[in-house]
């Protein structure tokens, strides 16, 4: 069963076409120049070119990387095979092992500093799986990852806060540009934190839709910049290997984007993405039940001081379990644009609970119309409305998975007798039981804006916290034409 979101499965990712059969990426084959008459034979250990004089030369195998696949419209890559080699548990364990060996050989300075950033959704998934409280689960997961060889485990809330604050400001910029300068095609602003949705938009709708997608990076990639750039500066030349723990496979694709390869550090901002279901598999393989482990701490390396260990204390944001983008932006916009305060957003279900909208109305006039659209079906209706000019939204929180990120494609599967829906509502309940974090009140974030990013709205913060999207041109190719 695939762990990609349904959106990507439909776009041929995880397709039955494997790269070996139908990959259309042109590859230069290294072989000696020869006159005609050379033959290629297939032998057990590879393909050989047999020249006229009878000499055999082994032909190179075509290597396709995940980023090749992402840049191609051929088959997004059925590249589970490609993914598996670059973003797998095996790769992670190999890095852990390599690092351990270096440390054993007293070559600590050569060993990488392995930092694991943990997002909230997979912790809740594992907490339900092992019947733990969220914070306990985080503490025990920290212990497990450290046993494997991780140096630091960190909470990603700080990146969530940055993403929310940046999205709020970006929305106001777009709204004002539309209202006062008449700029077109920038509203509705569409959420950018779901890589399944972004990848689908790039491959399928290209320039139609991309201008609407927020340029604010996803929390995963903001975390990537924070760890590699800001924390990386303070670790005395040690190379950082950055792992994120995520609720879906699509995040692996996001981490592999060329946009997130840093020339400065010559590495990806996120080196490896591991998901809840993979962690469960690793635990099962190691014969460990998470609840039997002792509690360990989370680190705050961005404080750049020695005493930075804390017991994990998990929080949530108001709004959806996908990060609460619609709620935060709505509230901020109400205040910023209309000088009012609202307590709670009331959503009205439209076609189904995964498509709901909230409006701000004054004297019978709709001032703001926001929506949350989860799952492929609703994305489809949204995109089609947008294309036909029939969308009247200002902002839409778009997530590829039905029910959003708490129900991410790589969350632990429900045990026998529980339905996916029951598990999703259990996770929602657990999420809503957490104390609320308010991004504006995060002192640490304010400090980071000042010390790292040169202030809010600075050139550096827009360079570091924003990204861009690339329409993928469809390639017409003979393989694509079938009855």
């Amino acid at each position: 069963m695939s762990r990609f979101s349904g959106v990507l499965q439909l776009t041929d990712l995880d397709d039955f076409i494997t790269p070996s059969q139908e990959c259309i990426k042109p590859v230069k084959i290294e072989k000696t120049a020869s006159s005609t008459g050379a033959k290629i034979t297939i032998q057990e250990d590879g393909y050989f070119q047999i020249d006229e004089d009878g000499s055999a030369q082994k032909l190179q195998k075509v290597e396709i990387t995940l980023s090749d696949c992402l840049a191609c419209s051929g088959c997004i890559t059925s590249a589970e095979s490609v993914l598996v080699t670059q973003q797998s548990q095996e790769e992670l364990l190999r890095i852990f092992e390599e690092n351990k060996n270096l440390k054993l050989q007293d070559r600590t300075e050569d060993a990488k500093l392995i930092i694991v950033s943990v997002s909230i959704q997979p912790i809740l998934s594992l907490a339900v799986r092992y019947s733990l409280s969220p914070s306990d689960c985080a503490a025990k997961l920290s212990q497990y990852l450290k046993q494997l060889g991780a140096d630091m485990i960190v909470d990603m809330t700080i990146a969530d806060d940055l993403a929310l604050l940046e999205s709020q400001k970006e929305f106001i910029r777009r709204y004002r540009a539309t209202k006062s300068d008449g700029v077109k095609n920038i509203l509705p602003m569409l959420a950018s934190s779901c890589p399944g949705w972004v990848c689908y938009a790039e491959k399928t709708h290209g320039s139609y839709i991309l201008p609407y997608i927020a340029t604010t990076k996803s929390p995963q990639q903001i975390m990537g910049s924070l760890i590699k750039q800001w924390v990386g500066r303070s670790v005395e030349g040690r190379q950082i290997y950055h792992v994120t723990v995520m609720p879906c496979y699509d995040k692996k694709l996001e981490a592999a984007r060329d946009d997130f390869f840093s020339k400065e550090t010559q590495s990806r901002d996120v080196d490896c993405v591991i998901t809840a279901i993979e962690l469960e598999q690793m635990l099962v393989k190691d014969g460990i039940s998470l609840d039997t482990l002792s509690n360990s701490t989370f680190s705050q390396p961005w404080l750049l001081k020695d005493d930075q260990e804390i017991s994990p204390l998990l929080t949530r944001h108001i709004g959806s379990g996908s990060g609460g983008y619609a709620d935060h932006i709505f509230k901020y916009a109400v205040k910023e644009l209309f000088g009012e305060e609202i307590e709670n957003l009331e959503y009205k279900n439209l076609r189904n609970p995964d498509f709901r909208e909230a409006v701000l109305e004054k004297d019978g006039v709709v001032l703001l119309r926001f929506a949350i659209a989860n799952g492929f079906k609703n994305i489809q209706n949204l995109v089609q409305k947008l294309k036909r000019g029939k969308s009247n939204y200002h902002y839409v929180e778009v997530m590829a998975c039905p029910s959003g990120c708490l129900n991410g494609g790589a969350q632990v599967r429900p045990k026998d007798g529980t339905s996916v829906k029951e598990l999703a509502s259990k996770l929602e309940e657990l999420y809503n039981s957490l104390p609320v974090a308010i991004p504006e009140q995060n002192e640490l974030v304010k400090k980071l804006y000042d010390s790292w990013l040169g202030g809010q709205e600075s050139d550096k913060s827009s360079a570091v916290l924003h990204t861009q999207y690339h329409a993928v041109e469809k390639i017409a190719n003979a393989f694509n034409i079938k009855w």
Binding site: G6, L10, T11, N352, F376, K377, Q380, Q384, N480, K482
Partner: protein, 378 residues
């Protein structure tokens, strides 16, 4: 002229069919089929009219629900509407162009007859409104990744289904004036989906695929979504087309494996004691017609009026089957009533019984021709 009632007539070109039929070689071939209880000619297809060559192959013909007109489509990217002229001959009334950029694979009339849906290899499905004989394309359904292979309306006309080489089946809800919302995206098949068709009496959808199976889907009231509620396995190759019996109690399928299969609906609590799951019917294969077709069977049509089954085959023939008198509904037997061996010069892509006029059959082929036939008992 769209509202002409169809008078039975026989005056048109009858010719070649009878000639072919009387050849001794034909007779011989038929007698070898006796294991299917085939008697010698128990009926014949008379060719009424051959309609002018289109550019390129004709993929599909679809009768208007009133039975007084039909639409055809094909490689020339246009839709043609045919109805009878003053002389009672089928003639081309409209050509609808500019709706699609590539081959149009199938056309389907809404049950009310006011809308025509067209499925194209350009990945879109168009809806044409019929305003008193003028056709206008007022909606285009986009979303499939690549070639749309088939389109079907539900009985109420409130739902549409489409399927594609992208392996998905989509359900669209009529949401108001020229508005169609995507109601479900179903990824049950593992390969190219060739055909979708709604049950004639309830909102049950069937789809046939290159993965050799037929899948059934229904609404899940708890979820406002659709779910796959049955997989019919048995064909050994691509299932090209399906057709429900008039009352919806059985389904006929045709395949690249050269067979036709009949599937029977066994609802929960059926007297035969066939096990069912989750309150859904079990559709069980109760009959396989093999040995008759020599190539891929591309289409099948189960006449709601006469109960006759017609097939369109890659061996250029059209065949008509009838259920035997007194056949056991749990193990029915069907007999070949007639076969027109060179019905067309190339693959026959589609056969369609007229919904109002018993025995009237339309067919179309790779040879670019559309033919109208009349089945008569002999």
């Amino acid at each position: 002229m769209l509202c002409n009632l169809y008078p039975y007539f026989i005056s048109e070109t009858l010719c070649e069919v009878n000639n072919l039929w009387s050849e001794p070689a034909q007779l011989q071939e038929i007698t070898t089929r006796s294991k299917f209880h085939t008697l010698l000619t128990m009926g014949k297809l008379e060719l009424l009219q051959t309609l002018k060559k289109d550019d390129g192959r004709v993929w599909n013909v679809a009768w208007h629900p009133k039975g007084d007109a039909f639409a055809s489509c094909g490689e020339d990217k246009s839709i043609r509407i045919w109805a009878k002229d003053m002389l009672g001959k089928w003639s081309n009334k409209f050509v609808l162009t500019e709706g699609h950029k590539r081959t149009i694979r199938q056309v389907a009339w809404s049950p009310c007859g006011n809308y025509l849906a067209s499925a194209s290899f350009d990945a879109t499905t168009s809806i044409w409104d019929n305003h008193g004989g003028e056709f206008e394309c007022n909606a285009t359904l986009e979303g499939h990744e690549n070639e749309v292979k088939s389109v079907a309306w539900s009985r109420s006309g409130q739902l549409l289904a489409t399927c594609s080489r992208d392996k998905s089946v989509w359900i669209w809800e009529v949401a108001g004036d020229d508005e169609y919302d995507c109601g479900a995206v179903l990824n049950a098949h593992s390969q190219d989906v060739k055909k979708v068709l709604f049950h004639p009496e309830r909102d049950l959808l069937a789809s046939a695929s290159y993965d050799n199976t037929i899948k059934l889907y229904r609404d899940d009231p708890s979820d406002e979504d659709w779910l796959c509620c049955g997989t019919l396995t048995g064909h050994e190759s691509t299932v090209w087309s399906i057709s429900f019996e008039g009352n919806g109690k059985r389904l006929a399928s045709c395949s690249d494996d050269h067979t036709v299969k009949i599937w029977k609906d066994y609802p929960p609590g059926n007297p035969e004691g066939v096990a069912t799951e989750d309150g859904d019917s079990t559709w069980k294969c109760v009959c396989t017609l093999s040995g008759e077709h020599t190539r891929t069977i591309y289409d099948i049509s189960w006449c709601p009026q006469t109960g006759l089954i017609a097939t369109a085959c890659g061996d250029d023939a059209i065949r008509v089957f009838k259920e035997d008198e007194g056949s056991d509904s749990n193990a029915p037997s069907f007999s070949l009533l007639c076969a027109v061996d060179r019905a067309h010069n190339q693959d026959v892509n589609c056969v369609a019984w007229n919904p109002a006029v018993a025995g009237l059959l339309a067919s179309c082929s790779d040879d670019g021709e559309i033919k109208v036939w009349n089945f008569v008992d002999t």
